[in-house]
Symmetry: C2
Subunit: 331 residues, 2 copies
DNA sequence: AGCCTGTAATAATTCGAATTAGCATCTTGA
DNA sequence: TCAAGATGCTAATTCGAATTATTACAGGCT
C-alpha cells in the first residue's frame, strides 16, 4: 500500500516549496509568478523520475475541470441482454471521449435500491465527473429536474421533454424518419395505415406516434393506433401497411402473416421503427430505419463539452437512415 | 447555474457550525461527539428541505479513497470487433464493482500516439483511481514493471510472468485445461497429437503450449507443434488429434478437412483452446474448453480489493470448463 | 464558593493542489 | 549611492467535508 506522492514530497526532493512545484506543473507565467529555467528543469526531472501525477481529487476541489466524463445508465452497461442496443452509443461516447482526452466514469456504485440505479442517493457520486451523459430509454423526470436545479452539466441521449426547464439532449429525429416511411408507403399506393406500439411513456415512443399522426394527416390517409399486435384486428380494419414501434413486434407480425398464408409485402407491408431493444429474430429483413446510435454517442459527448465550456443547452436531433429491407411493397 | 450548497450553508441555515452538520450527517456517536436530538432534527430538516448532498470530491480528499476503480485496456473497450471477447470480462468487473460500491473509470484519455494506448505517458492519469484492472491479451512488460516500482495497486486479468517482481493476476488455468483435453483424447485412443498456434508471445499462448507438452509427455504419446494450420502436413505426420490455439484456426481446419471428404471427428479430431479473439464461423461446434471470463472479471476486482486493503499480491488461476462439442471422437 | 462530571457544541486542523500576496535579492539608471 | 524595477521564490489561504481537541455551561456534591 505505497503512499501516493504529493507535491510536498516532490518539493522536498527538489529542494523547493510546494507552491513552486505547482507553478512548474501548471506552467504559470502570468500572475507575476516566475520560475528560473534551472529550477524548473530540476523540478521536472524529479517529476519525471518519480512519475508523479497530481491527485485529481485535490485538484478538482479548486478547478472546475477534471477531464472525467460520467456515463450514467439505469441498468448495468455491459450485461448482454441489453448490450446489443446500448453498445453503439457507448462506442460513440468512447471514441469522442478519447478524442477529447477525457476518461469515462461509469457510475456502477449507484445503489440499485429497487433493482434500478438512482442518480441521486444519500451518497451521490455524480459530481465526481465534470459532466455526465445520461443513457436510457426512459429517464426519471425527478432526476432530470434535480440535475437542472443543481446545475450539474449533462446531456441526455434521446430527446427529453422539459423537466422544469429545457433538457440538453442529442436525439434521433423520429418524427421525420416515421414520416419518411409513410411517404414511401403512400407513394406505393397504401391508404390505410396502422401504428403498433405504446406511442407514449418514453419520449422516443411518443415521437414516433406523433410523426405517424402528422404524416397520415398530411397525406389525408387513414391511420389507426393499436397498442398491441393483433393481426386479425389489422386485417379486419383493411390495413395494408403496419408500422411497429418494436422490431420484435414487426418480425412477429411478418411471421404470423406468412403462417396464415399471406404474403409480405404482397398482402401486407410491415415497417419497423428503429433498433431492437429486445432480442428479435434476424431472419426477417424488415424495411424501416436505423437509429444513428454511434453518431448520437459522439455528438452527446461533443454537446457535453459545449455545456461545460459555454454553459449552453444544446438540443439536437440526428437524422435516421432508411433501411431498404424486403417488407415494403405495393398496396 | 445555481451554486452548489455546502455544509457551511446548511450550518448557517440551521444556526449551527459546519462541524455539527458533518456530525449529524455521519451520525457520529462515538469519539465523544454528542448532538442533542432537538438540534439533530433541526439540521436534518434543513438538509431535507434543500436536498443537500455532500460533495464527494471533498469527502474523498479527506479519506484517502476514491472508491474509483480504473480499467485499462490497450484498445477501445466498446468497439464491436473485440467486444465479443472483452465483454464477459467487463460484465464481471462491473458486477463486482457494483457490489463493492465502486465506480469504474475507463482510461479513454490514454494517448493513442502510435495507435495504441499507453499506461504511462507525459500526463498519465492512472493514479486517478484507487487501483486498476489491466485487461488485454498482452501487456507491455515495461508498463508492468513501472506499475510495480511505482507501487500502483493493480491486478492483471490473465496470468503474467514476473516483471521485475511478481505481477498480481487472475488468470485461466490453461495448462490444466489443455491437459484435460489431451487426457480425454488419449482415452479415446489418440496417440499422435499436434498443437497449432504461436505457443509463445503472450503468456496465454505459452501456457497452452506448455500444458500440451506436459500432457503428451505424461502420457508418453507423440506431440508436434506447428505455428500455422497445414492440413497436409498434419495428415502426413499421421496426426489424429489437433489442438488449435485460435478458435478460427480450428473451425478452418474442420471445414478444410470436410472439403476434402474427410470426416471430423471420424478421420480427425479437432480441439479448440478457449474463446475466439477473432471472428470465427459459429456453425462448427468445436470441442474444447471455455475460459471463465465473467468469473475472471469478478475475481479480478475482488483481488484488487485485497491488494488495496492488505497490500498483498494475489495470483490465482481459475479452472476452464469443458465444452462437449462434436469434433472429438475415437482415433 | 469551589470542584467535579456530563453534556452540547464549536474552533482548529487535515487532506492535496492552486493561487495570491508578499518578501528577499539582484539590476539598472540617474 | 539609492530608489525603482525585475526577478525568483515562498508563506499563507482557499476549496468542502471529516475529525480532533477544546470550550462553555449546567447541575450535583462537599
Amino acid at each position: 500500500m505505497a503512499k501516493r506522492l504529493t507535491q510536498q514530497d516532490i518539493a522536498r526532493m527538489a529542494g523547493v516549496s510546494q507552491a513552486t512545484v505547482s507553478l512548474v506543473l501548471n506552467n504559470r507565467q502570468d500572475g507575476g509568478a516566475r520560475i528560473a529555467p534551472e529550477t524548473r528543469t530540476r523540478v521536472l526531472e524529479v517529476i519525471r523520475r518519480t512519475g508523479y501525477v497530481a491527485n485529481p481529487i485535490a485538484r478538482r476541489l479548486h478547478d472546475q475541470r477534471n477531464r472525467i466524463l460520467g456515463v450514467f445508465t439505469y441498468e448495468a452497461v455491459f450485461p448482454s441482454t441489453r448490450a446489443d442496443f446500448y453498445q453503439p452509443f457507448l462506442e460513440g461516447i468512447e471514441e469522442q471521449a478519447e478524442e477529447a482526452g477525457c476518461d469515462l466514469l461509469l457510475f456502477t456504485s449507484a445503489k440499485a435500491a429497487g433493482g434500478r440505479r438512482r442518480i441521486f442517493s444519500d451518497d451521490s457520486r455524480i459530481r465526481l465527473a465534470d459532466g455526465c451523459v445520461l443513457l436510457g430509454r426512459t429517464l426519471d423526470r425527478g432526476d432530470l429536474a434535480q440535475m437542472l436545479t443543481e446545475g450539474i452539466p449533462f446531456v441526455s441521449i434521446g430527446r427529453r421533454d422539459d423537466a422544469g426547464g429545457p433538457v440538453p439532449h442529442v436525439g434521433a429525429d423520429y418524427p421525420a424518419a416515421v414520416c419518411d416511411l409513410v411517404d414511401r408507403a403512400v407513394a406505393l399506393g397504401h391508404r390505410r395505415f396502422a401504428y403498433v406500439g405504446a406511442g407514449k411513456g418514453a419520449e422516443s415512443s411518443a415521437d414516433r406516434l406523433r410523426g405517424f399522426r402528422e404524416a397520415v394527416a398530411a397525406h389525408g390517409v387513414d391511420g389507426i393506433h393499436v397498442p398491441f399486435t393483433g393481426l386479425d384486428q389489422l386485417l379486419g380494419a383493411g390495413v395494408t401497411a403496419v408500422l411497429t414501434e418494436e422490431v420484435s413486434d414487426g418480425a412477429a407480425l411478418v411471421l404470423a402473416a406468412r403462417d396464415r398464408g399471406l404474403s409480405v409485402p404482397g398482402d401486407l407491408s410491415v415497417l419497423m421503427l428503429g433498433a431492437a431493444t429486445r432480442p428479435a429474430p434476424d431472419d426477417v429483413a424488415l424495411t424501416g430505419f436505423r437509429i444513428p446510435r454511434r453518431e448520437m454517442g459522439r455528438r452527446a459527448v461533443q454537446a457535453l463539452t459545449e455545456v461545460l465550456e459555454r454553459g449552453s443547452t444544446p438540443q439536437e436531433l440526428l437524422a435516421c437512415e432508411f433501411i431498404e429491407g424486403s417488407t415494403l411493397g405495393r398496396a
